[in-house]
Each structure stands twice: as structure tokens, then as C-alpha cells.
């Protein structure tokens, strides 16, 4: 997809975004910079599928914070500060977000090399918790290394008795410099780095990357490869949703069902292996199409899907019809619909708050224009609603896999791509990953090499939602709340 490109002055930016957000269906996709000399804002319209990219030049290292009037940009501005050393003046809680404060030497890695980083800028790198004072308050630090097999992140829970008054999420431990690396290597190898942003979302990342590159090259992949891509994406969604429900059952202490779900996730991963050779669908989707055709194995994929569906249905019923599960999840980690839309929630979290946003419909590609699933909606915004949305999506993914397999177009799977990318071009790829809206943005320079590559993982939006939802819940519900959001650390930290 190629966004409509508009230039404007920096002092008009906040008003323009605010005016855009008034129009129904509009939302902020991504705010970032190219090399620290400008701000770029990607606006999406979820009704029409139109996208607009605003670019506003900056005269200095600071600008008036947009967060003060558009609260959902608070995390974007913190990330811009980390990556470019730009200071949003008036930001209420400016602190590191995607590069941990312990990494002083790698501050502002994407900034134009000619622009020095002053000591004044480095002094803005302190991470200060939001302290809640009072004698009975106690603070519980958790992480960054957690008890189980999970990615690292630090949580500070300020509690009054059992109740959590505030949760502060501190990330950035996993920063690996993905965005910069993609600009340093030949663009044909870039897909491997793009999908390593978060490997539980490897297929969605590869697809968003491929869509962004294809929009630059004006290449349309063959119908067969589009079908196979959609198949891959739905298999990933299926496997990860089953995995998340298994984790939830485990955290609730329903171990029989947890073990059963983790076994069934193995069957879903088997589908991925049959399709692509990799249990995580790594390296399967490439710009121009897919890498190989599973041809002979398609009937086995069909059989395995049928088998999975038969075994999965009773397990899901046992899980959700258990009164203990129902009671524990209901009203836990509640996020109101108004806050969810104000802070730009996406994916399962948004749909559990009755926000009908699914990129498979709004920005349909591949097989989705023909067979997009109905959007799974829930009203309550609690952990139960999020679990019910996941279950509905497991079922719709199974249906979609069946539909695509029964009606897969014949033809080739790849296309010949030009050697070079076009100069001074902008392309974006928007994909509904299993967590929600995933955006890849690519901008080339005048020589046709990638100048800026930006990734916006769905977790980037939703971490704020977890912090809000945790308020006034008991501390023992934190694992359940966290699991019901099931957010990515690596996709956020990049």
C-alpha cells in the first residue's frame, strides 16, 4: 500500500491529527521520524482502507509534545526519544520505552550521524517510576527475568493491601537494533531480519515486510501465493491462540486442559511444518510470493486440520464451561471501551472492548477480500471477553483454513522482482497478526536503498492497556491479566 503523502508545518501537526481523529474510522497508525530531522505520522482509515502520511520538518531537537492533547501518542513519543534523541516538550512522563536506560552508549541510534548527542540529551534518560506515596503502600518489583520461560520485562506494582493501584511497565531489555539492521543489509536479505522482530509473529512480520516491499516495486503476487500466504497467517494465528489459551489454563491451575491444549498446539505447529518446513513459518513468505509450494502435502494439511478441529472443540468447551474458569476471568482486568479507543488499542484487546477493528477487513489482502471472517466482538473488556474473542478466532481460523484449502487457485508461487528498489519511495504493509494490527513502513533514499524501516508491533499499542486494566485488581490476578493480554516483549523492543 502506498500512503498519500502530505507535508505540513510542525505546529499544525497536533491539530491535523486531532481533526483527523474526529472523523469516524480514522486512527493513528504510527508516529516516528526518519533521521531525527522530522516527524512522520501515518494515519489509517479503517473504513475506506485509505492511508495518509504526514511529514513535518523539525528545526531543533525538541518539539511541543503531542501527548498533551492526543494521549495515545505518549508511547510513540517515548520511542522517538529513544531512537532519535528528540525531546517532546511537556510530555507528562518522558522516560525510556524501547531502549532500556542501562544502554547509554546506544542512545539515539537512528539519528543522523552528523548531529551530535549533547550531555543535556543524555540526562533525559533516567527511568523514574510513578511513585505512589503513603504509609500502607508497598511496591513489588517483578523481573526483568521472570519465573517461567518468558521474555524479559520489568513490572513495578504499587499496591495498597491486595489491590494494585498502579502498574508501571518498563521494557527495552530486548532491543536488538532490528530497524537499523534492515537499512544496513541488501534488501533481499531484509526479510529474515524483519521476521526476527518477534518470531511468534514471524509469518505476519514476513507478510507485512513483503507487502511493503511489493508496494514499492508495484508487484502483485500470484493468486496461488496469496492463498498460501493467507493460509500461513491463519495457521500462525491458530497455533498462537491455542498456545495463549493453554497458558491461561495453566495460570488458572486447570492443568489437565493446559496439557491438552499444549499438545493440540503441537498439531497446529505440525500444520505450519507441513506448509513451510518450519514450525514457526520462518522464511516462508518472501517479497513476490512464497518460497515453495506444499503441493503434495496439501491433502495432509487438510486431514490434520480436520483432526485438530475434532479434538479442539471439546477441549475448548471443557475449558470455558468450567464455572471456576468463568468466575476467575469475569471482571478481571477490565478495560473500558472508551479508554481502549482513546489509547488506540488493537487486535484481540480492542475487539474484547467492542471495537470492531480487524485489519483482515479494513486492509484486506491475500484471500481476505473474498473470505474475511466476521469480526469476533465482546462487550465487557475483561479477561473473559479476551478469552472468548480468542476462542471465536480459533474457530474462524479453522474455517478459513478449510475454505482456502478447498479453493486454492493454481498457478505459480513467485514472481521475478527488479534488482533495485525505486528511489524516494514510501511503502507500507498492514497485517492483522494474531495480536492485532502490525505495520511495516519502508522509505527509500535517492539511491534506492532503504533509508528508514519502521515496525509497529500490536503490543506497542497494547502495553498501555495492560497498565490501565491492572488498576484496582488484586495482585494475585496479575498473571491472569497479563496472560489475557498476551503481549510481545521482543516485538515491542525491536
Amino acid at each position: 500500500m502506498i500512503p498519500v503523502y502530505k507535508k505540513l508545518a510542525i505546529n499544525e501537526l497536533a491539530n491535523t491529527i486531532r481533526a483527523d481523529l474526529e472523523i469516524e474510522g480514522n486512527r493513528v497508525g504510527l508516529v516516528t521520524s526518519i533521521d531525527g530531522n522530522q516527524l512522520i505520522t501515518l494515519m489509517l482509515n479503517t473504513r475506506s482502507g485509505n492511508t495518509v502520511l504526514y511529514q513535518a520538518e523539525l528545526a531543533s531537537d525538541s518539539y511541543t509534545s503531542l501527548t498533551t492533547t492526543i494521549p495515545q501518542l505518549h508511547w510513540h513519543e517515548r520511542a522517538i526519544h529513544d531512537l532519535f534523541g528528540l525531546i517532546p516538550l511537556g510530555h507528562p512522563r518522558l522516560k525510556p520505552a524501547i531502549i532500556n536506560e542501562s544502554c547509554e552508549t546506544i542512545f539515539a541510534p537512528l539519528r543522523e550521524t552528523a548531529k551530535p548527542i549533547s550531555d543535556k540529551l543524555l540526562a533525559t534518560r533516567d527511568f523514574e517510576y510513578l511513585h505512589i506515596s503513603g504509609e500502607p503502600i508497598f511496591e513489588l518489583p517483578v523481573g526483568p527475568v521472570h519465573a517461567g520461560i518468558i521474555e524479559p520485562g520489568h513490572f513495578m506494582l504499587s499496591c495498597l493491601g491486595e489491590d494494585v493501584l498502579n502498574l508501571e511497565v518498563r521494557l527495552g531489555y530486548l532491543h536488538r537494533g532490528i530497524e537499523k539492521r534492515i537499512t544496513e543489509i541488501p534488501w533481499r536479505k531484509a526479510r529474515f531480519v524483519a521476521e526476527a522482530a518477534a518470531s511468534d509473529t514471524a509469518c505476519a512480520n514476513a507478510l507485512a515486510h513483503a507487502l511493503a516491499i511489493e508496494s514499492l516495486l508495484a508487484v502483485e503476487p500470484s493468486f496461488r501465493s496469496q492463498g498460501l500466504r493467507t493460509l500461513a497467517l491463519e495457521i500462525e494465528r491458530l497455533a498462537m491462540h491455542i498456545g495463549d489459551i493453554a497458558g491461561m489454563a495453566y495460570d488458572l491451575g486447570y492443568l489437565v486442559i493446559a496439557a491438552n491444549f499444549s499438545r493440540l498446539r503441537g498439531t497446529a505447529l505440525r500444520l505450519a511444518e507441513l506448509l513451510s518446513g518450519s514450525r514457526f513459518l520462518r522464511g516462508y513468505i518472501c517479497p513476490g510470493g512464497v518460497v515453495h509450494d506444499p503441493d503434495r502435502l496439501l491433502s495432509e494439511i487438510q486431514r490434520t486440520t480436520k483432526n485438530l478441529r475434532e479434538n479442539l472443540k471439546p477441549a475448548l468447551d471443557f475449558f470455558i464451561s468450567n464455572p471456576a474458569v468463568y468466575e476467575r476471568l469475569r471482571n478481571t482486568g477490565k478495560l473500558s471501551s472508551s479508554l481502549a479507543s482513546e489509547f488506540g488499542m488493537v487486535g484481540v484487546v480492542a475487539r474484547a472492548c467492542n471495537i470492531a477493528y480487524d485489519c483482515r477487513q479494513s486492509f484486506a489482502q491475500g484471500s481476505y477480500p473474498k473470505n474475511h471472517p466476521t469480526i469476533a466482538l465482546q462487550q465487557e473488556g475483561d479477561a473473559l471477553a479476551r478469552t472468548l474473542v480468542r476462542i471465536a478466532e480459533i474457530n474462524s481460523s479453522l474455517d478459513l483454513i478449510d475454505t482456502i484449502l478447498s479453493d486454492l487457485p493454481s498457478g505459480t508461487i513467485g514472481s521475478n522482482l527488479p534488482v533495485d528498489l525505486p528511489a524516494n519511495a514510501i511503502g507500507i504493509g498492514i497485517v492483522e497478526a494474531f495480536r492485532g494490527e502490525l505495520i511495516h513502513l519502508v522509505i527509500t533514499d535517492k539511491a534506492g536503498s532503504i533509508k528508514r524501516y519502521a515496525i509497529k508491533d500490536p503490543s506497542f499499542n497494547n502495553w498501555t492497556g495492560l497498565a490501565i486494566a491492572m488498576r484496582n485488581n488484586v495482585i494475585a490476578d496479575f498473571p491472569i491479566c497479563n496472560k489475557s493480554f498476551a503481549l510481545s516483549y521482543s516485538g515491542h523492543d525491536l
Binding site: 527475568v145 531489555y173 530486548l174 533481499r188 511468534d200 514471524a202 514450525r279 522464511g283
Partner: protein
């Protein structure tokens, strides 16, 4: 309740009986080198453009231009399969084994000049039998979560690593082995070293996955994510991106001084 029990009985036993079998034919696996096939590097000569992590090296050391030595570093390979698909002479082939873990970094480098003599086993006697019956593992993730999911899968009913006495524990104080996944970027240096220091001795360090071995796709970037060896002494290397659960179990059994057979 009765329905649940009936359902579970109908599901039967999921656990695989054969320990560390070969991967399924549909899997990509890792590359291997067939030393009997000559390299036609002059004809294809595109390995540099193909390999995403530059894990392949072609050398003309013996001045015999027709017989270049091909070296392939499994510790840098992400298993994309492109070299296998593009090798015109079948020199680089598919390796479906799940027993690729090594105790030495150099043993991961394959060469067409024949298999190198394996370097001496550096396993010390003090740890050799100590963990034979049980191994408590602490996992620290510093990467993209694929390896973490595979370690989690190794504990599921299909692979069930607890039957071999391997248990994932919640604190470094109880751990015998530290399993690290991911390329260990700068943000995790401090937390990782603190975890290591909190473990009682003797302790083992296992690098799980290509990123932990060499930094993989992230090597050389500004975030200093160049693998585990730069920070801690590594006892066992598990290649793969991510390694299959059986490869992980095989490596952990190696750490216990047990063979997979």
C-alpha cells in the same frame, strides 16, 4: 467430570516413544556438507548473496582452483534452507538430525575438507555425573521468543522432558544449568550476569539457538547482540533457529552426561 475423563481417555497417549528421532521429511532442518561432492563455486558463486547470515565461506587455500574448501558455520546458520535449494551440485544437503548440539564452538563449523577431528571433550569430571539423574534448568530469554516457545514445547506432553529428569525452575538459586536464548543485546547484559552469579556451583551454561551462539542475524549491530560467548563461558551450543524441542532435549541430556539412545 466423567465427560472430561472420557475425552482424555479417547485422546490416548501423546508422548513420543522414540527419543530424539530424525525430523519429519517436510521439515527444513539444518544444512550438512557432503564432502564427496565437489564445489562448483565458479559456476554458482552466489552463496554470498543467498546466505542471510554469511555463514558460508569458500576458500581456495591449496591454490587448486578446482577444489575449493567450503565451510559452513552451523552456529551462524538460521536454517532458511536457501543454500540447500540453490546448491547446484548437491554439496550442501539437508540434515534432519536432532542431535547437533556440541560442546565446542569449532565443532559447529562444517567443512568440505572432511570432518575435522572433534576437539577433546572439555567436560570436566566434576560435573560429568553430578547431574546424571536430574537437571534443574533456568531459562533466560534475550531474543525473539521462538527458542523460548520451543523450550516450552519440550516440556509439553509430546516431548515431555521431565521424564528424563529435566525440570525448568523459577529461580537461579535452584538451577544447575542456565539456558540462554537470543543474541544477548546490551539491555540484558546486567540481568543475565546477575542471574549467572546467583546460581550455585557447579553450574553449566547452554547457548540455545543460533542467536545465543553467534548473534545470528543481529551480529555486528549497534546493540552489541553478538551472542552469549562474549559474556559467559558456554558449555553446550545448540544450533538451530529455533532448535527443535528434540534438539533441546538432546543438548540437555548431553549436559547430564547421558546419551540420547
Amino acid at each position: 467430570m466423567i465427560e472430561l475423563i472420557a475425552y482424555l481417555c479417547k485422546q490416548g497417549l501423546a508422548t513420543q516413544k522414540k527419543i530424539c528421532p530424525e525430523l519429519d521429511q517436510a521439515a527444513l532442518g539444518l544444512p550438512a556438507i557432503d564432502p564427496l561432492k565437489p564445489c562448483l563455486a565458479d559456476e554458482c558463486n552466489n552463496y554470498e548473496q543467498i546466505c542471510p547470515t554469511n555463514a558460508i565461506e569458500v576458500k581456495y587455500e591449496d591454490a587448486d582452483k578446482f577444489k575449493p574448501e567450503v565451510r559452513l558455520d552451523l552456529g551462524a546458520c538460521i536454517g532458511c534452507g536457501l543454500c540447500i535449494a540453490n546448491c547446484s551440485n548437491g554439496l550442501i544437503t539437508r540434515n534432519l538430525s536432532t542431535q547437533n548440539a556440541t560442546r565446542n564452538r569449532e565443532d559447529l563449523i562444517l567443512s568440505s575438507a572432511g570432518t575435522q577431528t572433534k576437539s577433546a571433550d572439555k567436560n570436566t569430571n566434576s560435573t560429568k555425573n553430578m547431574f546424571k539423574k536430574s537437571l534443574a534448568v533456568r531459562v533466560v530469554s534475550t531474543g525473539c521468543s521462538a527458542c523460548d516457545l520451543e523450550i516450552g514445547a519440550a516440556a509439553n506432553p509430546i516431548f515431555d522432558m521431565e521424564r528424563f529428569g529435566i525440570q525448568v525452575v523459577a529461580s537461579p538459586r535452584m538451577a544447575d544449568a542456565l539456558v540462554v536464548t537470543g543474541p544477548v543485546g546490551k539491555g540484558m547484559h546486567k540481568a543475565l550476569i546477575q542471574t549467572y552469579e546467583a546460581m550455585p556451583e557447579p553450574r553449566l551454561v547452554i547457548a540455545c539457538g543460533t542467536c545465543a551462539i553467534s548473534g545470528g542475524i543481529h551480529r555486528g549491530g549497534y546493540a552489541e547482540a553478538n551472542g552469549l560467548a562474549a559474556l559467559l563461558p558456554v558449555d553446550i551450543f545448540i544450533p538451530g533457529c529455533p532448535p527443535h524441542p528434540w534438539s533441546i532435549i538432546n543438548a540437555l541430556m548431553m549436559a547430564m552426561g547421558r546419551s540420547a539412545q
